[in-house]
Symmetry: C2
Subunit: 429 residues, 2 copies
């Protein structure tokens, strides 16, 4: 069984991720979750390999004229204030265009952009650079959602540091009212836009045809922030782990079976009452065996299988280093992009994990993901907004539960080391 | 390098395709492409492994009361006609519910369902069976689209056989007018619906949260039927093909290189003027080499790589039969579901081809897909609406271009055998 052995560093981006420079311009009244949506889109696209950056006009304002502007600064009647805000928005827009010219791929322009006139201006400036603009509006009149948003994010912002919360909330609601008086929702049939109504209850896609904008729809349909735990863990120790071998489909070692028991206990103790825990595994035996003390029928995802080490599958790292020095050198030079001959790179793993991420975002109850080192690094990078290139160095030890709880702008992390303590050979997924 | 060798027939559906019995109920005036959309959704979901069937009320009408009903039969004032149509719709609905009860997964109720009252009735009957209903409306007032639809599909229907086309068109437009007078568009914020406006110019997703309905959005965003050719071909003959070996990453044989030249000539001759041809390959050398005479930078998709034969990669079928009789027997018993140990099944291949299919549907200009036997069988099954279980027996010979041109309800097929003629060992993708 000979196999072509040639170290392949994927030089061009794979076809699924052709570069498509795009401006995403947020639209919406204050406290409608624009920044939340913008950051989440940025996190998702960056993870998929599209360099994305958010340009938040609020930050420009705070940096350039200070945080503490009273509500009336934002009044339509305050001509001077309007001019200042307009200039700040244009500065942020210009910075974004420079960044895109210099190699960025997706620029997210995070401002209210609440009038047709302003949006026309944004389109005009982008058109001069040959850049398509997709507007993303968050439209919501549910007082509960707005209040929660003001409480969870706005009152913690630098705008209201050291201010009495009630007074701050009142000030912020007055600021919203000023914007409301001028607000025009998206409705131009010729514009390209995504309108999210009531946190995803309804989503309108208008002239959304390209690869990249279309890719956002599944993400934007479900925008809830239910504070449910996501538990990530590798399978219990396997026979391969004990010998530092890569890949394979080995069974659990006695220590690994011990871990499966402790994991089941952990889940029983920590699952919120009255909530069912979803248990996901890969199709490989060591993850399914790790789940058996919790459920006999986990949801098995092929997308959760460990990175395919191709011709190196079943070898130890030492063997690879000695028997395939070219492979070893190429992989060491760029662990993220390096694709094992006949196998996968981390980039490849991320592409196939996409449906898992979309489903993970949809979950409203606790989810336990029992998988493998490289795969969990990729999932962790998404949830914790780490640059994908850092995947190969993210620590995901054996016999450890990583608990991530989604919050407004990221995830809270806790780690639980469970017995038995085992040595980690740094291989074997 | 030992590998666990255990023939794995995936017994339960993989996690990505958990069963979610659902009713999709079409909504729309006549000639808005309801049947087109319904069939396309059915084709897509069936291919993804969800048994789906369309229940078309028009067919019930033609079967039970004959095809030739004049426009006025459909008038709101024709009480008797209304009752007949109502009964027919309920018969079709009941048949669908029986089919779902007996194991079907997605039922598509293809009728106008043009009033709130009718939709309430559909929901009520489905709710009794515990079935969620998602309405899919095609809303379009573009006279050009409606006329084209009447011309391309309606005048060819049994309703108007042997009738003068102009008279038939006039009759059909009168029929539409009758429905228009009663028509109520979808707007209930509590209903789950997808509203497609002007052939995908705008798409509204209302309460679309489950796995399956959300999966439809990318498909429904781009519903065009541009009559562009899709060319499917395997790579030119490889060294493995000559020796009947499976998988690997071999280079082209001299005969394979010869084919690459003839393929380039074929594309030059057959590409419509002024249209750029997109060339897609897998990441394997034999497909990229087959493209070189056409382009130096094809779009390479890892998703187009040949089915992973796992531990059998590089073997001949004879070797597998003799050295791994269990694998051979299990695979022979169910070639579609059989997953090579450490490799893939046809079902797995279909899941990973999903983004390729979505992109293929978006293409408006000719696309040449240079790939492998199993992968092309799966793509062909989608385009030609063949049951996915038939994939393993679809003929995709070497040195042959399969030209598929999308039409209103399917694809037109032509096959071109190009030189040189080579023997096909039935292996080696």
């Amino acid at each position: 069984m000979e196999r072509a052995v040639s170290g392949v560093r994927s030089k061009r981006v794979p076809g699924e991720r052709d570069k498509a420079t795009t401006v995403l311009s947020m639209v919406g009244l204050p406290a409608r979750g624009k920044t939340y949506i913008g950051r989440r889109v940025a996190r998702y696209l960056s993870w998929l390999g599209h360099p994305t950056r958010v340009f938040n006009v609020g930050s420009y304002r705070r940096r350039q004229i200070g945080a503490s502007q009273p509500a009336d600064f934002f009044a339509p009647s305050n001509k001077e204030g309007r001019q200042v805000l307009h200039d700040l928005a244009m500065t942020a827009l210009d910075d974004m265009l420079v960044w895109l010219r210099e190699g960025g791929e997706v620029g997210i322009f995070d401002a209210t952009n609440s009038t047709k006139e302003r949006r026309r201006l944004v389109e005009e400036r982008c058109r001069k650079e040959g850049l398509p603009v997709v507007f993303i509006e968050s439209f919501c009149n549910d007082p509960g959602v707005i209040e929660a948003n003001v409480r969870d994010t706005k009152l913690k912002s630098p705008d209201y540091v050291d201010m009495d919360p009630d007074a701050a909330a009142q000030d912020f609601l007055r600021r919203i009212a000023h914007y409301e008086s001028m607000y025009e929702t998206l409705e131009d049939p010729n514009q390209s836009y995504i309108k999210i109504i009531d946190v995803g209850r309804q989503v309108i896609l208008n002239r959304i045809h390209g690869y990249l904008p279309a890719r956002l729809a599944p993400l934007l349909i479900d925008l809830h922030v239910s504070p449910r735990p996501i538990w990530l863990t590798r399978h219990g120790q396997s026979d391969y782990n004990r010998h530092g071998r890569i890949g394979g489909d080995p069974e659990l070692s006695p220590a690994g079976e011990e871990y499966a028991k402790h994991l089941a206990e952990f889940v029983r103790k920590n699952a919120p009452r009255d909530q069912e825990v979803s248990v996901w595994t890969s199709t490989l035996r060591r993850t399914i065996q790790t789940a058996t003390k919790i459920t006999r029928s986990p949801r098995t995802w092929r997308a959760l299988d460990e990175i395919d080490a191709g011709v190196c599958d079943g070898m130890t790292y030492d063997q690879v280093r000695i028997e395939m020095p070219d492979v070893w050198a190429a992989r060491s030079a760029d662990k993220f992009r390096y694709r094992y001959p006949r196998g996968e790179s981390y980039e490849d793993v991320i592409q196939r994990l996409d449906p898992v991420i979309i489903q993970l975002e949809r979950q409203r109850s606790p989810t336990l993901v029992i998988a493998h080192q490289a795969v969990l690094r990729a999932i962790y990078a998404y949830l914790m907004d780490r640059p994908p290139g850092e995947c190969p160095s993210i620590s995901v030890p054996l016999h450890t539960v990583i608990q991530l709880t989604p919050t407004a702008y990221g995830c809270e992390e806790k780690r639980f080391a469970l017995p038995p303590n085992v040595e980690d050979q740094g291989a074997g997924g």
